[in-house]
Symmetry: C2
Subunit: 621 residues, 2 copies
């Protein structure tokens, strides 16, 4: 299976209305905030292994993963923008992590401190392999982006230890990760080190998972069968017919499966990935790209069970995981449908989870919030700075700086540059040994007129994605209309490509099997899903009835947003269905009153205080 | 607080289209079925206290309550209709229960067998006081309906033991029931025995609950705070501002509170009951009378959080509990609003839980079922014969035979007979030392023309309830129109009252704060809530759009129902919103096709196999 590659982080300089703002906030606010939280909660000190009973800040089994994710984010951020203070902190954290490594290579601050004799004794719950995976990802990021080797060396020793510990061979422990993650990390470790043991271990973790006898049942740490189901360990992964269980675990497993399919050229495994991608995106995904619709164990549920309110989940980390999986599938297939989902997640279900000011986060990304919303687990009506299980903030710390790389992909063999998401940027790419400079202009995703200036000579194919949401497009080269968005030619510096993607505001309907959305519609423009936030309306959101007979119009973002936040609002005429009777149930048919409404990009909601909000609105025929 | 009384069970002979059928099925099918299940699962043998480790059918902490509830049902059933075989079985069960009583009065098959040294050690989870309460209710029923004293004597000894065990006094255990029930049972025990200790214990359990220091936190058996919240023990009951936690527990507690308010003439406590009744019925009740909207801990959630599908609950036992609470509040106030809710529960949320054939039960009473429904806890798309926690089947066994008593109430002091629910029956009542014979005729609730023939001479007031769903009514006495449904006179045998309650089929709308029902409507006629079952439609239920511009019509029940099942269907014109595109999300606006639909009483759904169903339907303006 031949894979193409996304752009290198350093090669992209963003100048678009959405991501460039977010990356600036990342450096200014998000990273400083999560670094402070990581330190003040004891996560860094835990590596000193000096915690004793009775002291505060008792190490927790998932702490190492949070540290690792922040470090991965710092590495990417430093790649994008130098910062000597930040680099010093990074190096300091590396020292502390490495100091906690045991002679034999084992590395886990919590187990080494609390129960050093119980290494890998409770794979069901203790997240050691999950933490190891995130540390490996951080190490690879530091090495690839910054050329730093110390953490990578440390994690290689740990990976060697794990590879010697786990497997089906005599004398090894036949166990599986309780929270998948190390699989995709091992693929990265293999790619940077070339060590076959890491690929072998990845293959073992993928292929052995769910086979008989079932490791998790044998281990005996399970509290109940729901947990067991939550681990994707009921059957071997190749037999999976649909996704189930904890959504983040599921998509991380799928990332690992896609990686192994690539490394082993394993088309059978790839077909499982294809099947499960279709299952997610055709049956179990919110219109925002959010997945894992039940608060109950943060999990996938059955097909079309995608409620909007109190009981939904759509964890931020799960949307990021789906984007990572979709990205891998795109690189393996070059098929636009994968990039369509990645883009959907990026602009909606992922960005919704982080505040515009950069340091507040949703764990649950509701599609409808009302003053009567009941929150469960880590759900909240407003974004929070931190959570007791704080995976989401640290996921943003490492995800936001990576966004640029998804914009382009290069196929060395076919000498092709893919323009995946045409946002304004300068791109310093390479393909087939040539340096390719591109300047993308425009206001995408808020405008469909995109300019691509070629800033270097060279022969290559420019393959511009036409998104599935777009039903009309136009391509011009140096002013001349072309039939195809795929242009192969000898480019000259100064060549100008114009791409027009028609993006009228549209009403979108859900499959009626999502019964809660029957009779409802969502407003969408291009890749951006919209929401009605109560702060912008003249009446409660729940009383607004959209009209299908009157076109929607574009409008500026309300002035209540900070001036430097860019975006386009959508406005139109609607009705308010009003009922004087305030009984719980009444035969009063109510009255319809003409009003107007204003919708804002879903990802921007709840940045102006607490407010009711809905994506799916009822409509009048 | 002066209380009026419901009719005695034996005084009512039903001849109506709904309850008489259900009571016949109770005798023929329900009781034999739950008796067989109770025996074959080991619940009766458990009283022999002979179970040993390694044997099958290990006694369970709630088993005694199931036995008790079945016995209570048998007692009522025997009161309605003699059956020497059934009476023999009843006496035999009494023997077995009494044989398990310990010398000091203690009686619990599970604890005595498994952990005899741990009496009342885990009130949080072990349900001993709950079981005791149900046994007391069974004993009172046997005594009151059949004049049998053996079980009552046994339970008096147990109640004495409990009264000596629990309390705030020096040397007593300051503990509270983990599952409320014994409170209302103690009120019954006090009423039949006159023993002040029982009233004192009831008062202690009500007044001490939730005070500091919190017993449940002290006991230390709590698994987590959700459970704690589930017990209504966060604050003293008099401070409760709203209902919360496990719905069955909550309404049983409210029954006990209403009982104590009556016995102690405690108006403060009564006001709490009033407030919480309003909270339930104005903010936390399905249109069917179902309560406890979340499968998560079978609990109440926040106001207006009343979803329809996978994640809802509305346990059968909770609807029965609400009816029992509403009945108590009616007797204390004579206010129709309480009887409105009792009637709503009876015809909808309660009857929906038991099959027409009498031996299959819903635990969860969904308002919408789709082939994609995800079931949680004891939820299921079809009624089940039994559950591992089988409270619902045994609740029906004791509830169905009691229904007749709710039809009438007598106010001795005011010499008034209340006709609460005007279904066809013969009633042999007494009031103010006179015997009053009434014959109610008609086809209520499927017809609003009701005849009441007076079959005895006497002076009394006949107070006929005008339900809140009825906006137009007429009363005639011997052919002459009267202004009021309250008729005080010297009645002569042969007097005839005609009551006409207008009951056109209506569309009902929910408060928009139930956001899932925005833009939806439910079909209702009189007290009966209707549902669209897919078996009766020409397309999937979820594709049907009701019309507000075309009146609804009455129709016979479909022939697919057994011939002896009576009822009225409702039919009308509608649209089918059809969409060719089967993507999860699409901009295809769909087409509207004219079709007709047929709705059946909600309580009758899923008696003709598995089928999709919905109560709340979208509509076209």
């Amino acid at each position: 299976m031949k894979k193409i590659s996304f752009a290198k982080l350093k090669s992209i300089r963003l100048d678009d209305p959405v991501f460039s703002y977010r990356q600036e906030q990342l450096r200014k606010v998000t990273l400083p905030s999560v670094i402070a939280k990581t330190e003040e909660t004891g996560r860094i000190d835990a590596f000193s292994l000096s915690w004793k009973e009775g002291m505060e800040k008792k190490p927790h089994y998932y702490w190492d993963s949070d540290v690792a994710k922040v470090m991965e984010g710092i590495a990417y951020s430093l790649a994008l923008c130098e910062d000597s203070e930040l680099e010093k902190l990074y190096d300091n954290w590396v020292e502390k992590i490495c100091s906690a490594q045991q002679e034999d290579g084992y590395l886990n601050s919590c187990v080494t401190t609390l129960e050093p004799e119980k290494r890998f004794a409770n794979l069901t719950l203790n997240h050691e392999l999950y933490c190891a995976g995130h540390l490996m990802e951080a190490a690879v990021a530091g090495y690839e982006e910054l050329g730093k080797t110390k953490l990578l060396d440390c994690l290689c020793r740990y990976a060697d230890y794990i590879a010697g510990y786990f497997g089906k061979e005599e004398g090894k422990k036949r166990g599986w990760p309780g929270h998948e993650e190390i699989e995709l990390a091992l693929a990265k470790m293999y790619k940077v080190t070339g060590k076959e043991e890491y690929k072998d271990l990845l293959r073992y973790f993928i292929n052995d998972r769910g086979s008989e006898p079932n490791y998790f049942l044998e281990e005996g740490s399970l509290r109940n069968m729901i947990v067991y189901r939550n681990f994707q360990a009921i059957e071997p992964v190749r037999e999976l017919k649909e996704v189930y269980g904890h959504a983040v675990r599921m998509v991380y497993l799928l990332c690992g499966m896609a990686d192994l399919a690539e490394l082993d050229n394993d088309t059978e495994l790839f077909k499982v990935c294809e099947r499960l991608f279709e299952d997610i995106t055709n049956k179990k995904m919110y219109i925002t790209g959010g997945i894992g619709s039940s608060f109950n164990a943060e999990s996938f549920t059955c097909s079309y069970d995608l409620t909007n309110g109190s009981l939904m989940y759509a964890e931020s980390c799960a949307a990021m995981g789906l984007a990572l999986f979709a990205g891998r599938m795109f690189l393996l297939t070059k098929e636009n449908k994968y990039m369509d989902i990645l883009e959907k997640c990026l602009y909606n279900g992922i960005l919704s989870g982080i505040s515009l000011n950069g340091d507040e986060f949703f764990y649950t990304n509701y599609l409808e919030v009302d003053e009567n919303l009941q929150v469960y687990n880590s759900g909240a009506k407003t974004r929070q700075k931190w959570f007791s299980c704080s995976c989401c903030p640290t996921s943003y710390a490492r995800f936001i700086p990576q966004i640029g790389k998804f914009l382009f992909a290069a196929d060395e063999e076919k000498n092709t540059i893919y323009l995946n998401i045409p946002v304004a940027c300068c791109a310093d790419l390479s393909c087939g040994n040539q340096k390719i400079l591109l300047i993308v202009e425009g206001n995408y995703p808020y405008d469909g007129n995109i300019g691509v200036r070629i800033d270097s000579d060279g022969e290559f194919t420019l393959n511009m994605r036409i998104p599935s949401w777009c039903s009309k497009y136009e391509v011009k080269l140096n002013g001349t209309k072309l039939d195809s968005p795929v242009i192969k030619r000898e480019w000259k510096k100064g060549d100008k490509v114009e791409l027009f993607l028609d993006m009228p505001p549209k009403l979108i309907y859900a499959d009626s099997r999502i019964t809660g959305n029957c009779g409802r519609t969502a407003i969408v423009r291009g890749p951006v899903i919209y929401a009605l936030e109560e702060i912008d309306q003249k009446c409660p959101v729940r009383e607004i009835v959209l009209r299908r007979d009157i076109p929607l119009s574009l409008a500026p973002l309300p002035a209540s947003f900070p001036e430097n936040v860019k975006g386009i609002a959508i406005t139109g005429k609607a009705y308010r269905e009003k009922r004087e009777n305030d009984s719980l149930y009444t035969d009063d048919p109510g009255t319809l009153e003409e009003i107007s409404f204003l919708a804002v990009p879903y990802a921007l909601w709840q940045n102006r205080g607490e407010s009711n909000m809905a994506v799916w609105m009822r409509y009048k025929y």
